[in-house]
């Protein structure tokens, strides 16, 4: 290359290229990588009243569910109720097939008649035996027969009386059996015990059912409640009569209100959840289906004003909780004791901070006392 400028010019050109290069190099070495200061945001501790709340999820359930079915094995003859029907108390929903029941009742009636006949026979025998006994007693008084004969006749009388009792009881038994079968025949009908809504039809006519198996299920729609589960750790303060907001999966526009009816005495030890029942103040229209998921927020009573910090500022160090603060240009970890928190991320500070103190909330890296920091409005990389 032929250089047209004199030496000074060439040096100048080289300087113009190299110096910015070196400057860039030094900038890169100092400002990026592990030597750079860490951006953080700060906020002031405020004295504020917070309204803590509890959050749980649950399912809609009916308070009372009635499963209606026969008390003995049989076949379904007819079922009038359909799912979704509203029924009244005493309404016949369906009927079981009597099968051989009528024949058995007839049999029992025949047996009853037979028992009655047997009773007559026993009665006749007893009357005769009594007469015989009396007669022979009279004969004994005139010494016409032996005592043994009298004893035999007396014995016969006793036997006849026993036979009569037996026939009487037998008649009673057969009668009772017959009545039992008659009652059973009455029980063939499946009857709604209360007003309600049919929610399930578990078998169709013609199906054979065992005793105790449900054929129709009923609920009382006015008794819908939400069976809610709260994490035990976050269930402090849960009690009856607290107001609740219920968010149903299907309805997110109108939020029905309700209240806690009761906190279940038995918690779920396996999932570590506390159970509670929340009832609606007013049932939503249309009725939500049983089994739908709901999110329930229970509002706890508001607490008096106290120093409050965002929960993002709370960090763990050396086994204790605390916050980072700027103190005379150095980072310092201040241990704190926390109080109640609300669902929006505000937590009360019982000890360690006062209103007006500055705490570090967000940081681009994990902080330690040796870091240099620079205070920014928003951590770089976070879009507004």
């Amino acid at each position: 290359m032929i250089k047209r400028f004199p030496i000074q010019g060439r040096t100048l050109a080289l300087v113009v290229v190299l110096v910015p290069l070196l400057a860039l190099f030094i900038y890169v070495a100092l400002r990026s990588g592990p030597l750079a200061p860490v951006p953080v945001t700060v906020t002031a501790v405020e004295d504020r009243a917070i309204s803590p709340a509890l959050f749980g999820i649950g399912t809609i359930e009916a308070r009372y569910t009635y499963k209606i079915g026969p008390t003995f094995a049989g076949r379904i003859k007819r079922l009038d109720a359909q799912v979704g029907d509203t029924v009244t108390a005493g309404q016949v929903l369906g009927e079981m097939d009597p099968v051989d029941l009528n024949e058995r009742i007839q049999g029992q009636e025949a047996a009853l008649k037979r028992a009655q006949a047997l009773l007559s026979e026993a009665l006749a025998r007893q009357a005769y035996a009594q007469k015989q006994s009396q007669r022979y007693e009279q004969l004994l008084e005139v010494r016409a027969i032996s005592e043994e004969t009298v004893a035999t006749k007396k014995h016969d009388l006793q036997v006849a009386e026993a036979g009569l009792n037996a026939a009487r009881e037998e008649l009673a038994r057969v009668q009772a059996d017959r009545e039992a079968l008659i009652v059973q025949r009455k029980n063939l009908k499946l009857v709604a015990p209360v007003d309600g809504l049919v929610t399930a039809r578990d078998a169709d006519p013609g199906t054979t059912i065992v005793a105790g198996q449900a054929v129709v299920e009923l609920i009382d729609p006015k008794s819908l409640w939400v069976n809610v589960r709260f994490d035990q750790i976050r269930a402090h303060g849960l009690a009856a009569d607290l107001p609740a907001t219920i968010v149903l999966r299907s309805q997110t526009v109108e939020l029905p209100q309700g209240r806690v009816l009761r906190v279940e005495p038995l918690a779920d030890a396996v999932t570590e959840e506390t159970l509670a029942k929340v009832v609606f103040d007013r049932l939503p229209e249309p009725l939500p289906p049983v089994g739908e998921l709901a999110e329930v927020t229970v509002a706890l009573p508001a607490l008096p004003a106290a120093p409050v910090i965002p929960n993002a500022a709370v960090q763990q160090r050396n086994g204790g909780l605390g916050v980072w603060q700027m103190h005379n240009g150095n980072l310092r970890f201040t241990p704190v004791i926390l109080g109640a928190a609300d669902l929006d991320g505000n937590v009360q500070v019982r000890q360690g901070l006062q209103a007006g103190d500055q705490v570090i909330v967000f940081s681009a890296k994990s902080l330690s006392a040796r870091n240099r920091i620079t205070i920014v409005d928003r951590i770089p990389g976070v879009k507004p």
């Binding site: 290359m1 060439r10 592990p34 959050f55 976070v382």
Partner: protein, 401 residues
């Protein structure tokens, strides 16, 4: 005495700087490769740091929870919590899966964290925006690397979650961003399939006569219910009381609970020794190849420059220049080329490659210093060929004919 090398460089400075820039890009790639390796190691370290745990309790004889899948019952933490030396114990689940938001799909490591008052082991130790999770369900904290913002609604399996907080540098050992959701939701996500599969399963169970007995009407419901619950978690994270040695507490858990327990040092070895080992070897090979290529390029350039000066070198030798001076001329040029290359390479690596590379690139000052020394050494060695050629020159060649 004037600097012959300096004068020569100034005379052909354009060529020099141009070559230096080209070499610099190569060096930049080399530095970036080292940065990628450091980034991978840092991903592993950051994962361990951010979990806030001193011990990891996992299924017996597994390398879990990061290197191998591990399942333990979710009530194991209670018995661990009562052991001496344990300050806190918390369940945690990890599942790498696709997380949807609208039309977008992001691969993330979904981490289930236990409900608690605040910062339990497994929780993100610091945030860059938003707040920690307060509700027991349907809230999420996402890492900036996932691209999600505060208020986004994510879909994980069948549930929707609202992003309430953002973190930075919370990644899995593979570099996938982490998304924190409540543990119970994560257990469900790990286990519950989509609706079609659930229907199939119920149908199969109902057709099985062992489970569907008419005399026992509730048996089928009970079996289906048990199939739909997930009582497992991947690990229990343990924080130790100050004053207790990690290894001793680990040993007592191992002996009495018959689980596998890893201390921080052992987890690091697993993550870095086993997970990253293959990638580390690949990168080491690349580094060697790039260094060899760089050395070859420098050698070639310097040799060419020297050959172009053969006549001048003969004249210099004839008029009495020491061999030492000529060797110095060549070597100084080689080192100057290396310096320009290093400066350009460092700037390229930091300002160009590190921000755009999809994985985390960590450029440590120590690596730059070592790289600098390596560049200088390579330049010195690469100039040997040219030096040999220069030394062989016969001063008599200047006197022609």
């Amino acid at each position: 005495m004037i600097s012959l090398a300096g004068r020569d460089i100034m005379h052909a400075w354009g060529k020099f700087v141009f070559t230096g820039v080209g070499l610099g890009l190569l060096i930049g790639i080399t530095l970036s490769m080292a940065g990628i390796y450091r980034g991978m190691v840092d991903d592993g370290k950051v994962l361990l740091d951010n979990s806030g745990a001193d011990l990891w309790v996992v299924q017996k004889d597994t390398l879990g929870p990061y290197a191998e899948s591990s399942s333990i019952y979710d009530d194991t933490w209670r018995s661990i919590r009562t052991m001496p030396g344990v300050a806190r114990a918390a369940n945690v689940t990890y599942l790498t899966m696709q997380v949807r938001q609208g039309e977008r799909d992001v691969r993330a490591m979904v981490t289930g964290i236990m409900a608690g008052e605040s910062v339990a082991p497994g929780w993100p130790p610091y945030l860059v925006a938003g707040r920690q999770i307060t509700r027991g369900h349907y809230e999420a904290i996402a890492d900036l690397a996932s691209g999600f913002k505060l208020g986004d609604r994510l879909q994980i399996r069948r549930n929707h979650y609202t992003v309430v907080g953002l973190t930075r540098r919370m990644v899995s050992s593979g570099g996938d961003p982490m998304i924190f959701i409540p543990l119970k939701d994560a257990q469900e996500a790990q286990f519950l399939k989509d609706n079609d599969a659930i229907r199939q399963q119920r149908r199969r169970t109902a057709e099985n006569p062992a489970f569907n007995r008419p005399q026992v009407p509730d048996l089928l419901d009970a079996v289906i219910a048990s199939q739909s619950t997930n009582p497992y978690v991947n690990a229990v994270l343990v924080r130790i009381d100050s004053g207790h040695a990690a290894e001793k507490v680990a040993e007592s858990i191992r002996r009495w609970k018959r689980l596998t327990v890893y201390t921080r040092a052992q987890m690091e070895e697993i993550l870095i020794g086993k997970l990253i080992a293959t990638s580390a070897r690949q990168i080491a090979m690349f580094l060697v190849i790039l260094s060899v290529v760089s050395a070859a390029i420098v050698a070639f350039i310097i040799y060419t420059l020297t050959l172009g000066k053969i006549r001048e070198i003969a004249v210099l030798k004839l008029i009495g220049t020491k061999n030492r001076t000529i060797v110095g001329l060549i070597m100084q040029q080689s080192i100057a080329l290396g310096l320009i290359g290093f400066v350009v390479g460092k700037i390229t690596a930091t300002l160009l490659m590190a921000p755009i590379f999809p994985k985390y690139v960590l450029l440590e000052p120590m690596d730059s210093i070592i790289g600098f020394i390596a560049v200088v050494v390579i330049c010195i060695l690469a100039s040997i060929i040219a030096i040999q050629a220069a030394l062989k020159v016969d001063p008599a060649e200047a006197i022609g004919g």
